[in-house]
């Protein structure tokens, strides 16, 4: 490894692997190292034995009642993929989509008045849903139609409002929506973690609603997809992309020293030093260059049955908006997956509960969610700090990603990747569709055409 590279990447979390892949495809010489012996860092998926060892101490093994350890791939960071979101665009841009298989998440639920309700996925479901009263549905329908028709460059669709200036709360007021409906739109559809958005320009909320609707349209059941064998497949797939384009991979590499001089970054591991024009890393590699801005609690729960009141769904998301959980500021999320996504033994369900920590007793904060899950067979709780870089890296040539946040999807993850990419290269990452995929689509269309 005693060589010069364009870029050295430290840590094989999803963000680092996407950047590594993008840079390699552009012809950059990349050295990618991780101190761990496995891919994924914080965004890895673990086998059951690995999970017990991580949370219960070295040498601990999973009890045999859970089935074989290797049937499990348990995500450390729970998220679902919005099927029209940025991560899908990145998978299509790089053609990494071909290494993976996905399945739709069965449904999305939201808590209201101490019950959970399905987030309607069709007009019929919306009309039948108890989430809104009859007259409220009438106002909501008008609002949804406005959002659907809204186009930035067509003032005739703006209804006389300037969404780039007008705060969202005023738009809600204009359509006469009540507090429960606003809560539903802000948290179950726009997927905001808290209510800060109400004071911000409405355009962002409108765009989020459109993204949700587009994602919903793809597979109808829910707006989310999830990869077979767990989220840990994602960083590995982008790492493969990087390797195919010449990226060098080394695991189990403790990083002893990183220095910055003569315009180069020097990275020392096991006595050898490699140099690079710049370095990309997750925050754990540079504790002196990051600041803490919050804490996140995540509880991995293993269950023997589907979540009650979800029509025996094999995979669901449940959102508990802050207002439905007493005096909270941040929503609580529950992501449930099972053997249908090949992440655990048959008959088991993995529910991961997470939220932004607000008190000194974080686990108590999760109680409203625990109460929805039915009996919990085993529980692994972690409270982690959220880090972000102090500077943008353009001065010291050290580009650091943010920790993974409490959101239930990958939009902020990808936004961070795009931001780092721009800080490194000075240009925007334009997400096109890979020629291979366009070719495949063409072939499929031709085939369908010839059958008719």
């Amino acid at each position: 490894m005693d060589e010069h590279y364009d870029c050295i990447v430290l840590g094989t979390g999803l963000k680092e692997c996407i950047i590594s892949g993008l840079l390699s495809v552009e012809g950059k010489k990349v050295l990618h190292m991780d101190r761990n012996g496995y891919y994924g860092g914080e965004s890895a998926s673990l086998s059951l034995d690995q999970l017990f060892e991580k949370f219960r101490g070295k040498g601990t093994k999973a009890p045999p009642t859970f089935g074989s350890s290797r049937e499990y791939s348990v995500d450390l960071i729970p998220k679902f993929i919005l099927s029209s979101g940025l991560l899908v665009k990145m998978l299509l841009h790089t053609d990494v989509v071909r290494y993976l298989e996905f399945k739709v998440v069965d449904g999305s639920y939201v808590k209201q008045s101490n019950k959970i309700h399905k987030v309607p996925s069709t007009d019929t479901e919306a009309l039948a849903s108890p989430l809104m009263g009859f007259f409220e549905k009438f106002s909501a329908k008008k609002f949804f139609a406005f959002v659907q028709d809204y186009e930035d460059d067509k003032p005739s669709t703006h209804n006389g409002m300037d969404l780039k200036k007008m705060p969202m709360k005023d738009v809600f007021k204009k359509f006469g929506l009540n507090a429960d409906t606003i809560d539903f739109i802000g948290h179950a559809v726009s997927l905001y973690l808290n209510d800060d958005y109400l004071e911000k320009p409405a355009i962002e909320t409108v765009n989020r609603m459109k993204l949700y609707a587009e994602s919903m349209l793809k597979y109808k059941k829910s707006p989310y997809i999830y990869p077979l064998y767990g989220l840990g497949e994602l960083p590995q797939s982008f790492a493969r992309l990087s390797a195919i384009y010449g990226g060098t991979y080394m695991l189990n590499k403790p990083i002893e020293k990183v220095t910055f001089n003569d315009g180069k970054v020097h990275v020392t591991s096991e006595g050898e030093t490699a140099t690079a024009d710049y370095v990309v890393a997750d925050p754990t590699y540079f504790p002196d260059k990051v600041k803490k801005s919050g804490r996140i609690i995540r509880a991995i729960c293993i269950l023997n049955a589907p979540i009650p009141n979800t029509s025996n769904s094999e995979s669901v998301q449940i959102i508990l908006p802050q207002k439905q959980c007493g005096n909270r500021k941040n929503d609580i999320y529950v992501g449930v997956i099972s053997s249908s996504h090949f992440v655990c033994a048959k008959g088991k369900f993995i529910a991961i509960v997470s939220t932004t920590v607000e008190t000194e007793n974080p686990e108590k904060e999760l109680e409203p969610a625990y109460n929805l899950l039915g009996p919990i067979v085993e529980k692994f709780v972690s409270v982690t700090d959220f880090y972000e870089p102090i500077t943008d890296g353009t001065q010291d040539k050290c580009f650091i990603s943010k920790s993974y946040d409490a959101t239930s999807h990958f939009e902020t993850t990808c936004a961070d990747v795009m931001d780092i990419y721009k800080r490194i290269t000075g240009k925007d990452l334009v997400l096109t569709i890979h020629p291979n995929i366009l070719q495949q689509q063409k072939e499929q269309q031709d085939e369908e055409g010839s059958e008719n």
Partner: protein
């Protein structure tokens, strides 16, 4: 292609130490059928090639290691869901045979339960410098339920034969990949938008 034929697609992965001839083996196999194939090592995620048996056609989606075996950093997702694997060693190198055995064990532990594994002793054209005896490898293969052949990517000896034997041994069930009947890749970007 015969329309009456049923086509089955399988993921096949190559494993083995660096420089035992994994890529050459595949290029030899794929080139034999597609003379107009344009070789490219960089940016080639995987190659595809079909084998016609009597009543079925087997399409292999062949994954190369992309050099990730060099520092032992091949990711588990590489062989995840693979229905077939060719574990390659160089008949001139005992180390590469030892490494091949490690890969077989890894596949038996982590691979798909019904994976078809073929052991290939490559560089048969250099048999004068042989260090791994045919009988030894043959015995190991038999004890572990592997297909076994000695091959030469250079002279093409046994290359097609190896893939044909794998194709014959693969189960031809309607669902060829675990779960693939119900899975889907994200379709292209959306063309329309409606709310709820």
């Amino acid at each position: 292609m015969n329309n009456n034929n049923k086509i089955f697609q399988f993921k096949l992965v190559l494993l083995g130490e660096a420089a035992v001839g994994k890529s050459s083996l595949v290029l030899r196999f794929v080139r034999g059928h597609f003379l107009d194939y344009q070789e490219s090592t960089i940016g080639a995620a995987f190659l595809a090639q079909t084998v016609c048996l009597n009543d079925t056609t087997v399409k292999f989606e062949i994954w190369d290691t992309a050099g990730q075996e060099r520092y032992h950093t091949l990711a588990p997702m590489y062989y995840r869901g693979a229905q077939a694997a060719i574990v390659v060693y160089d008949i001139r190198s005992e180390d590469s045979f030892e490494r091949a055995i490690k890969w077989v064990k890894e596949l038996q532990r982590q691979g798909s339960p019904n994976i078809v594994i073929a052991l290939a002793g490559n560089k048969l054209d250099l048999a004068a410098k042989r260090r791994v005896e045919t009988a030894e490898a043959q015995q190991y293969a038999e004890e572990n339920g592997l297909l076994f052949m000695e091959t030469s990517a250079k002279t093409s000896q046994n290359v097609n034969e190896l893939f044909v034997e794998i194709a014959k041994k693969l189960p031809k069930t309607p669902t060829t990949r675990p779960g693939s009947a119900q899975t889907q890749s994200p379709p292209p970007l959306p063309t329309s938008t409606t709310i709820l």
